[in-house]
Symmetry: none
Subunit: 127 residues, 4 copies
DNA sequence: GTGGTCTAGACCACG
DNA sequence: GTGGTCTAGACCACC
């Protein structure tokens, strides 16, 4: 799976790396048990600092997406179970986005339509 | 409309102020033409620096939510027209959120349900 | 001649008033000897502060566009004579504008074309 | 490329810095991909505050002249593509300038001549 | 090391 | 009284 970062964007690079791995898992490109490249290797491939990859991996581990083992490196964690508390977290993330959509006079069902299109986009592997 | 900020959180204060004003507009608590408190006044009310409020106001102006009237400070801009390009911007914002929801095995229609609940929440004035 | 100002714009109101009167003179809508409305009157018409109109009138007087008489108010000055030093002043004003046009890859003759179109636009009375 | 500011002038310092960088790009002294000094460094060199440089850089970034690379500071953005909407923006900027030239009885072709001279001046690197 | 954020306080242009 | 500009200095996130 190819990871690309935008150095000029406002999103921190470690967040971009984290996001793309989550997207890869969601798309099924990265399957539970699959090993990720080593921190050094990925850093060299992308052309970023080792510390940055390390931060992304650690974040993913803390979030439960990755298992890290000193010997075998990082691997994708088993499928997560449903977490009812995610709903509230999601809602908090959505508040400013939905508010802006309302201000821009987007219909809420059009919003949901875009959600579904985004879902398909991810499932297709971001193509 | 009351604006409150979380000084301990990781979200920049100027972003919090910006978001809350957008939410206020979406909720209908702030109507087009209505004037906002002056930067000095709001800064004093919230207990933050004038420049921080200034940054939030300038951002909102650049985004088209506010007009900075040279005479009387800031006022809410007229209702925005629908902008077809917002759809793509929205999609980009949603990608990491939807991806995470997929990983957490949330059904896409449950996601849409949360969108609708968030919509109602905002329309109720955040109550 | 109608004068309109944009209160939300970044151009100071007194500058806008000054500019529009200069445009009116250039278009021939305001002829030498013609009297302008009194400061109070114009301020009331536009809905701005008396001081602001005063500043615009004073500026125009200093630039040689207006004659001000305590008794009869302001009137348009006689046609100006050619001023060779204006060329350098003009060049200084154009430097940043031309530089930006170059960066945006506009051909210099297209720039001149826009100058001529702007000329016609003004001569038509801004229509 | 040397940047100099006039502290006594009425043009804001951050605008002067912005303008000179745009002129530098137009003159070819600053090429796409080239890195600019860090905000701290340039501020020290010119003898102004870091925030003032920051404002100039941010403005240039918003205008598309600069990319702010998270790793190495600011660099000149790739050559801009032609933007048809620039024509209208340019026209609006030219209106008061052309109007004043008309009042000062400058021939429109002399105006264009000054435009071309200014163009050459910039292309020569402002010498 | 870089820029981003926040604070604090001053002065000025504008209205 | 309003926002705009500039300065100064601090802390933090990122790399």
């Amino acid at each position: 799976m190819l990871i690309e970062v935008d150095f000029a964007g406002e999103v921190p690079i470690y967040t971009q790396v984290r996001d793309q791995i989550v997207i890869g898992i969601a798309a099924g490109l990265l399957k539970p048990g699959e090993t990720l490249p080593s921190v050094r290797r990925l850093a060299a491939d992308i052309g970023i600092n080792v510390h940055t990859v390390n931060k992304a991996y650690s974040l993913l581990r803390d979030e439960g997406f990755l298992l890290m083992d000193r010997r075998s490196g990082a691997e994708i964690a088993p499928l997560m179970t449903e977490d009812p508390s995610f709903d509230e977290l999601l809602s908090n993330k959505l508040i400013p986005v939905v508010a802006e959509a309302i201000c821009r006079r987007m219909d809420i069902e059009d919003f949901c339509l875009t959600v579904r299109k985004t879902y398909s986009f991810i499932k297709r592997g971001g193509k």
